[in-house]
Symmetry: C2
Subunit: 490 residues, 2 copies
């Protein structure tokens, strides 16, 4: 069953990189840090997009599109924003190439832009420059807009999906008349993300808020969902920011409220990205390859014929075609792989590597007995099922796999939240067990920074459901009002 | 009924610009040549995307995503490609900003890229650089991939949707084992586009091929669909290119064919863009505003209550809510505008400006009589309809409007294809009637160029269904094998 895949125990990071490439999800391109998302990987991303888009629209949001480029001067307008993004951005300085005398292609020095343009790392600045024109009165509020877009952050060390110079995402940007309404919006979108992660992607998440250190550049509060990967490292799966009036002030966006007075507009922004593809891989997959929750599988059921000679294949295909038609009627995505160029064993391997949830095999004996052999990708178990029952069986198993993957990941996550009360324990758990470490912290950025230096662990979040509990900081012994979740993270 | 909209007769170009902004489709941004696509405009684009995407998948294509940036050196590899695109492209030269001593933000001169990156104007080069890794044998072919993306072409004179520095589009890039198969693919996609334009957007098009002068940079044949706007100017609405082996040779993409021999791979590419939004506006709209075919209307039916006092509104709303529920069941997109902040007349104007196909009004008399008043946007006519019949009536009218808009545009287009036999006639038709001028041409780029200089008209296409007919060139008198379609164009 070898797919020449490094095992997770051998080298988790290598396993991840190999799997992403071998399962045809993505690959590195000729452009530093930029990936190619291959059709199989993109089909999974499309399913995420469709579900998220539906949820955004159900909560009253509309899509729009804003420019890829942001004038350099916009960055200066919100001070923390420039600190957060200007140091790693792609800058357009010229608008023409020319052919040099030796025939080579070079940048035309005469085609220099008056003001440099930044390729958007996020769109708050260009969007709030636009909202100034859209908002005069409380009647123009709220504005509930989302954008599906590519963004660029010039990361020096990149990894497929997890950290790439260019990535795909959605960014919601909303404008409100009151602080209260903006906070409610930011919280709502965190909940939308959590619901999506858990019930669609089968990835359990902790909902919480970031500490000041870990907040988005320009936010007053960052809500997040944090997931736990199989190697015990955390992954931030989505964030939703309450931006206060920071961008409204930076871009002078005022409105007349119901009392006829002028006030600055309140803002939120929220986003998830192709990083979720990395979370998907690292939550469910195993040493045999990808494991996909049925909701996200481009192929939910694959059918492989086992036969000798054309006559057997014809008889098998007749049975299979009937099954395919029934499954399609139920909106189950099914592929019948009757290629004659590959052997069944090769196909079994291939679909296992690609994480297809259910594999149906049918050979001459099955044909004689009126049965199918059904293999589950998540448990690697097989059952023989009577033809009369197979449609219902497959349908039930898809639901069962979706639920099983979530529960398995939830068990792992729950057994990897460890309360510690000393710094020795803290380090021991991080080094030998991994996962979230629930520890008391004195609330200062300095202690947080110090712990990060000593252990590479950061505060992933202050969980919304944490128990209020007096304690003493695991590092300084200073008083604390409750535990926060530390982890090493992607 | 004034919407302060310039009329088409007064100034067609001004009418277009005003309408795009006033109907909330798009507006200029703070970035030179880049537009903001507003929610209402983007909702229309999403409908186009969904329908095209369905058609692409039905014809066996998959989506993928390739990098935004293209290394400068890639451009040098296909000679005509660099001529076509390098002169108007955005060039990234640096990857960091820094804060200067005076606090201003500037490009960090130490963060200069070793090789400049071009923001993609089209993706043939980066995609064929990738395909080299994907293709070894005929078994890897065909590759049928599409990408939804933003692209940048540094146009000096821009207009909303029609010509913008950044625009949204889809670009298909396919790879084939034989020339014949690649040509069939390019023709198929032209037919997909024509079907989409005519049957979904209600825009009649001429299918044809471009002359060598007008071909895509790097193509051996460019198939196109050409539409005619209400002002008599043509608009290229989509193109599909047979690229031969040009890109395979430039990027060294070879495969082993069934006979075990190495050959270069055959290519096509094809695309349509947000330019189609411009075509939509200029095909159907009128002096009162936008006119949308029901297929593309974000709101297909709007319902406006006419009432005095809360009791009347409540009684009307009860009736309306029943109607809304029935229409939604039929997947008709309906909006009930019961805002109390605006008067009915204001709402009528607003939805007329925004091109909503059907407007239903209901007042106390209607309530007493069990009727609704239904107004059609395309004909600006009204009818009173019994409540019992209104659902069927609205459903039928939506179909009728879709068909009517196409037929109206087709009549206009057909009456604006004028055969001419002398250059005097040629100029006269262009200046006084507009539309396509069907004229004999001697087949040389020189004559084509000369005619363009003298009249600003270009050969829009050699129509696929043109009649073979011997004649003499309208400019030079040299022999010609058939008429070609000239026009002034967007």
């Amino acid at each position: 069953m070898s797919k020449n895949l490094t095992t997770r125990a051998e080298d988790y990071s290598k396993w991840y990189n190999e799997l992403v490439v071998k399962a045809d999800l993505a690959e590195n391109s000729g452009v530093r840090g930029c990936m190619v998302i291959k059709p199989y990987g993109y089909a999974i991303w499309e399913k995420m997009q469709a579900e998220l888009d539906k949820k955004f629209k159900e909560t009253g949001h509309q899509n729009a599109y804003f420019p890829l480029f942001i004038p350099k001067s916009y960055f200066s307008k919100e001070a923390s924003h420039v600190d957060g993004f200007a140091k790693e951005c792609a800058v357009v300085t010229h608008y023409r190439l020319k052919t040099a005398e030796d025939g080579s292609i070079e940048v035309d020095p005469e085609a220099k832009l008056e003001e440099e343009l930044i390729v958007r790392p996020t769109s708050e600045t260009i969007i709030w420059d636009t909202y100034r024109k859209w908002i005069q009165s409380y009647r123009d509020l709220p504005i509930l807009v989302n954008q599906w877009a590519n963004v660029v952050r010039w990361e020096m060390r990149t990894r497929l999906f997890l950290r790439t110079a260019e990535f795909l995402w959605q960014e919601g940007h909303t404008a409100h008349a009151t602080q209260q309404e903006a906070i409610a919006e930011a919280e709502q979108m965190m909940n939308v993300y959590a619901d999506f992660a858990e019930n669609f992607m089968a990835i359990p998440v902790v909902k919480g808020v970031k500490t000041a250190n870990e907040r988005f550049a320009g936010a007053l509060e960052t809500y997040c969902i944090e997931a736990l990967m199989q190697d015990g490292k955390a992954l931030q799966a989505g964030t939703s920011h309450f931006l206060g009036q920071n961008f409204a002030k930076a871009f002078d966006v005022k409105f007349t409220n119901q009392e006829g007075k002028q006030d600055y507009v309140w803002a939120t922004s929220w986003g998830v990205s192709t990083r979720l593809m990395g979370a998907l891989v690292m939550t469910h997959s195993d040493d045999n390859g990808l494991v996909l929750p049925p909701n996200l599988a481009p192929i939910q059921v694959v059918i492989v014929p086992i036969y000798k000679g054309d006559d057997q294949l014809a008889a098998i295909s007749e049975e299979v075609n009937k099954l395919v038609a029934k499954l399609r009627k139920l909106n189950i995505s099914v592929k019948y792989d009757d290629r004659t160029t590959q052997k069944p064993g090769w196909k079994f391997n291939e679909y296992e590597l690609k994480g297809v949830p259910l594999r149906v095999a049918i050979g001459p004996n099955d044909l004689a007995n009126g049965t199918f052999e059904v293999a589950r990708r998540d448990t690697l178990t097989k059952e023989v099922v009577a033809a009369a029952d197979v449609v219902t069986y497959l349908q039930d198993k898809l639901d069962e796999i979706q639920a099983n993957l979530f529960n398995k990941a939830l068990d792992y996550r729950n057994s990897h939240i460890t309360e510690v009360n000393t710094f020795e324990e803290f380090k021991d758990v991080l080094d030998n067990k991994g996962g979230f470490v629930a520890a008391h912290w004195d609330g200062t950025p300095e202690t947080e920074e110090k712990i990060k230096e000593l252990t590479k662990a950061t505060i992933r979040c202050i969980a919304l459901d944490r128990v209020e509990e007096l304690g003493t900081c695991v590092l300084t012994g200073a008083p604390s009002a409750g535990r926060v979740l530390f982890a090493r993270a992607y």
